[in-house]
Amino acid sequence: MYPKELKYDREHEWVRLDGDVATIGISDFAQDQLGEVVYVDLPSVGEAVSTGESFGEVESVKSVSELFSPISGEIVEVNEALEDAPETVNEDCYNAGWMIKVKVEDTAEVEALMDADDYEAYIAEEA
């Protein structure tokens, strides 16, 4: 449920670092808490994101949640497919349900995030 190769933040986003490009999405815990996703509102390529700041929204029938960036950098790609198929976030949150790709300013920021074990412990504490 929480892939070992990913990093996680306290707002339930995951990060996959590939060189200096980080792919960001929401965790299985987050998609389960939200329920069936009906809208994903994402920023545009070229926009800057900053650590801890909102970069978009994910909305289910019952609630809406802000998406917070776990890192700082510039958006190089957004998952446009989510516009027509927001349910992908529920079905495959770690792969097809990714949200943005960011060229990170400082890869050490990614390293400092929680690993899967820490994140799982964090969720257990929160629940």
Partner: protein, 368 residues
């Protein structure tokens, strides 16, 4: 501090089914099991069952029961002079403010069963008992009564199978006795989903048995308050606390039809007649929103200016876009009028739409 919250007789069933429980009007209720959209679709295409045991049931009886209730409710009890018929109504204060919406079932000679909203149970009890003469008796049956809504195009087939041969289902807005798998119940052909179906009243001790029997049918899905809300809003059915409250009269709330012009002498009648004579300033309308999900309290705009707030709002699973209700000035209430809804940082266009938002259901087929 953890607040326990009241539990219906089906609480342990919900937990065992893995429902997500939430506080609703002081009750621990299931908001969803498999998912709101999945449950919503189950009701539109097959059968969904809902625990609505948190609602209140009052039994009113006595020689003056009819006359006394006529003074309390806006709708006309003469419409249900036949035993076994049911009436949707509101009751108002002297200013025409809506205290609650309710269904009155004419269950017996000199006897009526009233079903009220969970959140208003105490308020309603206080109001009704204060306005009943001593010659009329009233009993609060809520705690010992469980209520299960069985809704969907195949609901009557399921109930019919459990009731056995020789049982005749009640007509729409009628109520009758049945034995479901030999459990004695009251079956009302009413509901809050826009689908054909029934609401089953039974003794609290039998609720779990009936619930499990219903779930033994493969086409029956347990449904939570989340789907109940999307289903009712697709039909434009109002929800007390969102679409109406003490601050609004039935005419403005689009419920003029439950306060017939020909009826007088009930509490609030003069105030409601005044609203009619002067015509209301605001009206509750439906809104179709193509981008984003409108939610309760979001501003409704016209030319950038706020003209009202969203009363009820959700994503319609059937239509695949946002739907809402809102109070807007009468000049902006005509179907087709273009408005906007402020959805957090964005402004989404909205079109005034006459409910029901979903036109074709098993219930609309039944009516035509």
């Amino acid at each position: 501090m953890i607040e326990a919250g009241r539990m219906t007789p089906l609480y342990t069933e919900h937990v065992a089914l893995g429902a997500r429980m939430v506080d609703f009007a002081g009750w621990q209720m299931p908001v969803q099991y498999a998912g709101i959209i999945e449950e919503h679709n189950a009701v539109r295409s097959a059968v969904g069952i809902f625990d609505v045991s948190h609602m209140g049931e009052f039994r009113v009886f006595g020689f003056d029961a009819r006359e006394s209730l006529q003074r309390i409710i806006t709708n006309d009890l003469d419409r249900i002079s036949t035993l076994g018929s049911a009436l949707y109504t509101v009751m108002c204060d002297e200013d025409g403010g809506i205290i609650d919406d309710l269904i009155v079932y004419h269950t017996g000679d000199l006897e009526y069963l009233i079903v009220v909203n969970a959140a208003n149970r105490q308020t309603d009890w206080d109001w009704i008992t204060a306005h009943l003469p001593e010659t009329v008796e009233i009993a609060d049956e809520s705690d010992r009564t469980a209520l299960i809504a069985v809704q969907g195009p195949h609901a009557l087939a399921v109930i019919g199978e459990l009731a056995g041969e020789g049982w005749t289902p009640p007509d729409r807005f009628e109520v009758g006795e049945a034995a479901l798998d030999s459990v004695p119940v009251l079956v009302a052909r009413t509901g809050y989903t826009g689908e054909d179906g029934v609401e089953v009243f039974c003794h609290a001790s039998q609720a779990a048995a009936i619930w499990r029997t219903l779930l033994s049918f493969s086409e029956v899905s347990p449904c939570g308050l989340g789907a109940r809300d999307t289903l009712r809003l697709e039909m434009g059915y109002p929800l007390y606390g969102s679409d109406m409250d003490r601050g609004v009269d039935p005419v403005s709330a689009g419920l003029g039809w439950v306060a017939p012009k020909a009826k007088s002498g009930y509490i609030g009648a003069e105030a409601i007649a005044r609203v009619r004579a002067e015509s209301p300033e605001r009206k509750l309308v439906g809104l179709t929103v193509s981008e984003g999900v409108p939610r309760h309290g979001y501003p409704v705009l016209h030319g950038g200016e706020e003209v009202g707030k969203v009363a009820s709002g959700t994503f319609s699973p059937t239509l695949g876009h946002g739907i809402a209700t809102a109070y807007v000035p009468v000049a902006l209430a005509d179907p087709g009028t273009g408005l906007e809804v402020g959805i957090r940082r964005k402004v989404a266009s909205a079109v005034v739409t006459k409910p029901p938002f979903v036109k074709t259901t098993s219930l609309s087929a039944l009516k035509s």
